[in-house]
Amino acid sequence: MTTQVRAEPYDWPFDGAIVPERTALVLVDWQHDFCGPGGYVDKMGYDLNLTRAGVEPTRKVLDLCRQIKGMTILHTREGHKPDLSDCPPNKLWRSKQIGAGIGDMGPCGRILVRGEPGWEIIPELAPLPGEPVIDKPTKGAFGATDIDLVLRNRGITHLIFTGITTDVCVHTIMREANDRGYECLLLRDCTGATDYGNYLAAVKIVTMQNGVFGAVADSPDLIEALSSLSRVASV
């Protein structure tokens, strides 16, 4: 029985087989603000079809991973405290320059503020009770949160990435995780960026230098590899 995923530039994981108890499916920032009408990305004028492209493939992977005994589902969410005390002044300034000021009122409530409708994860990929959600004021997830502690407490060493946007939050978190020794896989069809060329470049860089930040796979290949793993008894 093999539970390695066909991936580039090497079959993943490097250490032989997927062990569900040591693996987390990471859903990065599947929030209305990044892929929904009237949200932050929409307000900046980008094409939502690009950031929404990975929703359906991710939903299929999520459905399967939720059935696999021992696997962790972890969500991240970018947003700021209502008083914006955790928003660097230059981040706030730039957002106002482009006409989508963090904390300003938009069609989906205050932009990028915790608790607002735009900040919520889209219903298709919303967390279930018991699934850890990491709230971060940053693009990365390791600089100002307890994600490392949450992962270590569960003994997780392997991360499978989906989410938006590929070149910004997904890449930053994957780079941070890789620097900390996590074995990372990016699902190419479960992510998207505000610019298609930047999406392609971000996927490519992962595979350079024999997998400088990990490996890249297509979700059907992950689904095939996971199909041999045991399911939750009740399902």
């Binding site: 693009k139 941070e176 610019d195 060329g197």
Partner: protein
């Protein structure tokens, strides 16, 4: 008051290039720049100028790399165990101690230490600018992607400019000072 004619906004956001709070961060990974690299020559020329204005040079070689430019007294050096320079190092303490909040980044190649560290620095609130003519690349496509991604969403990781564009801002700044 002087700013750089950078993209997608005039850097720094606070409206004035201040050499005393500006660090020039030089990243090297793998083999670093090839000898005779135009990007290295651009950086050397820029750093000579930056030192005279009072900017601080910070050398950030990766684990198996060497600083590609000479380390002089007064420079800071921070050897990186990871690609991101803030991971497992005392870089933040060094920057804070030197009063550096505005960072100019050069990378050999750009996609590894420089890109990872620009993301970390930006998340921490540092005001970053990528010196695009002072970088080598693993491939043209990934260089273009790195330079483009910085500029999304109004400058999601900061700004991008050439070393000449930064020097132009320094020149106009020092001319103002002598008037």
């Amino acid at each position: 008051m002087s700013t750089v004619a950078s993209r997608p906004y005039r850097w720094p956001y606070h409206g004035d290039v201040k050499p005393e709070q500006t660090g020039v961060l030089v990243f090297s990974d793998l083999d670093g720049p090839p000898s005779g690299s135009p990007a290295l020559a651009n950086l050397e020329a820029f750093i000579e100028r930056a030192r005279r204005t009072g900017m601080t040079v910070v050398h950030l070689p990766g684990a198996d790399s060497e600083p590609p430019i000479s380390v002089l007294p007064g420079d800071l050096t921070c050897r990186r165990p990871a690609y991101g320079a803030f991971t497992g190092t005392d870089l933040e303490l060094l920057l804070r101690g030197a009063g550096l909040s505005d960072l100019l980044l050069a990378g050999f190649p750009v996609e590894l230490g420089a890109d990872c560290s620009m993301r970390e620095a930006n998340d921490l609130g540092y005001e970053c600018l990528l010196l695009e003519d002072c970088c080598t690349a693993l491939s043209d496509q990934t260089l273009a992607g790195a330079v483009s991604s910085v500029q999304m969403s109004g400058g999601i990781f900061g700004a991008v400019a050439t070393s000449e564009e930064v020097i132009a801002a320094l020149t106009s700044s020092s001319e103002e000072g002598t008037k």
